[in-house]
């Protein structure tokens, strides 16, 4: 796997959500929900379909406004930069954020520039994610699993301390899942934090895992 820039993250970096409440029309998705995730920890969000898992992740990412409550990173907003200029957080939703007109390389180069990942290392990263052969193909022709891998490569490039992943295993084959798990284990071992919406089991190695169960047990 390509080398991550810089060392581990600080021990005090703590993600907290307090009193989050959100209604969608007449439905209460969550009411006074609180959680926290320490560095090196993974927070798994589980629950039946329609229980608000994705919405919660989007609230953490700042994409959706909660009606009440707030999400903080060490008491500051989650969208921001740390002292060394790396982004605090990266979000990976269902959509892969790839432009079908651009090649895999061009797509990743854009995000590399935004997050300050060295352009030279993208090639290495493509090899690690099993996309080396697709580097110069427009992402229009990629399979769903390959697009997912490219999206995960983008997550890795961000160098962010907090990863927010929405069902990252979708469409991945076993090699792809191994890539994902290796990436996550390394991230958590380096005192990173991850919040993951997952239906399937996911092997996070030795990292402590907290499960957040959403919705009434169906």
């Amino acid at each position: 796997m390509a080398r991550r820039r810089g060392g581990g993250f600080r021990e005090v970096d703590l993600l907290t959500g307090t009193g989050l409440t959100l209604w969608r029309g007449a439905n209460c998705l969550f009411d006074a929900l609180s959680f926290s995730a320490a560095p090196g920890n993974a927070l798994l969000i589980r629950g039946p379909n329609g229980s608000g898992k994705t919405t919660l992740l989007r609230v953490i990412a700042g994409l959706t406004l909660a009606e009440e409550g707030e999400v903080k990173w060490n008491g500051t907003p989650v969208i921001g930069c740390d002292n060394s200029g790396r982004h605090l957080m990266t979000y990976c939703g269902h959509a892969t954020a790839l432009k079908p007109e651009l090649t895999t390389m061009e797509n990743l180069r854009f995000f590399a520039r935004l997050s300050g990942y060295p352009i030279r290392q993208i090639g290495e990263l493509l090899v690690a994610s099993g996309l080396a052969a697709c580097a110069d193909l427009p992402t229009r022709v990629l399979s769903a699993g390959q697009k997912r891998r490219a999206a995960l490569a983008r997550v890795f490039m961000s160098g962010a301390q907090l990863w927010l992943l929405d069902e990252p295993q979708t469409n991945l084959d076993s090699a792809g899942r191994q890539f994902l798990e290796r990436m996550l284990q390394e991230h958590l071992a380096g005192s990173g934090t991850a919040v993951i919406v997952a239906h399937q089991s996911i092997d996070l190695g030795a990292a402590p895992v907290t499960v957040l169960q959403m919705g009434e047990a169906a």
Binding site: W23, R24, G25, A26, C28, L65
Partner: protein, 251 residues
């Protein structure tokens, strides 16, 4: 001052207060409009140039004044709702639009009826009528954007941005229409609000404007109650009101 403000802005309190306020706004409004109409149609003397035709201003000017005033109210409420995330403000903005649109239409039609005897045609591309027409389109745009969203919260915030963009544009539109019309030297309605207007002619106009304003506030209060109820549906007080189990239900 602030406690009073927050109490007013608390939805259950507003819902109750607005309910009891409605008759206190609408009955005086009706009275003033009747007095103003009597004053305008009977009491005021005929204009030496326009004869009795000018009496249309007693309905045209209040309508056109409301059409602008309601738009500004809507934009201010929308801005408050957007910045401080106050649902009541969004409810006010949402309620303003249909009222404002109807008064804009009224101002347009009465303006045209005034124009026919004055210009010999129902429509002149003169600044006032043109501005009213554009204002009507602004209301239509706002209302169709509102109805395009399924989620009320999203609809509130999106339409608020549009209302703010619109209100910044209203003076720009107004002045560019004035500038544009000045090039063509078209006839203008503005002669009739010259300061030299006689008191006999003026007081019914002022009474009508006041009556229309109270009427707007009364209708607004009624509409906002419904909108507030909808936005507060999941709260205890709203459900009590809906079950009829609340003493808040007044009218």
């Amino acid at each position: 001052m602030w406690t009073w403000f927050f109490q007013l802005a608390s939805p259950p309190h507003f819902y109750r207060m607005a309910g009891s306020l409605v008759p206190w706004l609408l009955w005086p409004a009706l009275l003033l409009i009747v007095i103003g109409s009597w004053g305008g149609l009977v009491q005021a003397p005929a204009d030496y140039q326009q004869g009795d035709g000018y009496r249309i201003i007693y309905v045209h000017v209040p309508s056109s004044y409301l059409s602008m005033m309601v738009y500004v109210t809507m934009a201010v409420a929308a801005g408050i709702g957007l910045i401080w995330r106050i649902k009541l403000a969004h409810a006010v903005a949402a309620s303003c639009a249909p009222i404002g649109a109807t008064f804009t239409a009224a101002a347009l039609v009465t303006g045209m009826l005034w124009g026919k005897p004055m210009w010999g045609t129902y429509w002149q591309w003169e600044p006032r009528l043109t501005s009213e027409l554009i204002l009507l389109f602004l209301y239509f745009g706002y209302m169709s954007l509102r109805s395009a969203f399924n989620d009320l919260n999203q609809s509130d915030r999106a339409s608020a941005v549009l209302a703010l963009a619109g209100v910044v544009n209203v003076p720009i539109i107004h002045f560019s229409v004035l500038w544009w019309a000045g090039l063509h030297q078209g006839p203008s309605i503005s002669k009739i609000d010259a300061p030299s207007i006689a008191f006999d002619m003026l007081w019914p106009l002022l009474v009508m404007i006041l009556g229309f304003t109270l009427f707007f506030l009364g209708v607004l209060a009624m509409r906002v109650r419904g909108e507030v109820l909808e936005r507060e549906f999941h709260s205890r007080w709203a459900q009590d009101v809906l079950r009829g189990a609340s003493p808040m239900e007044a009218g």
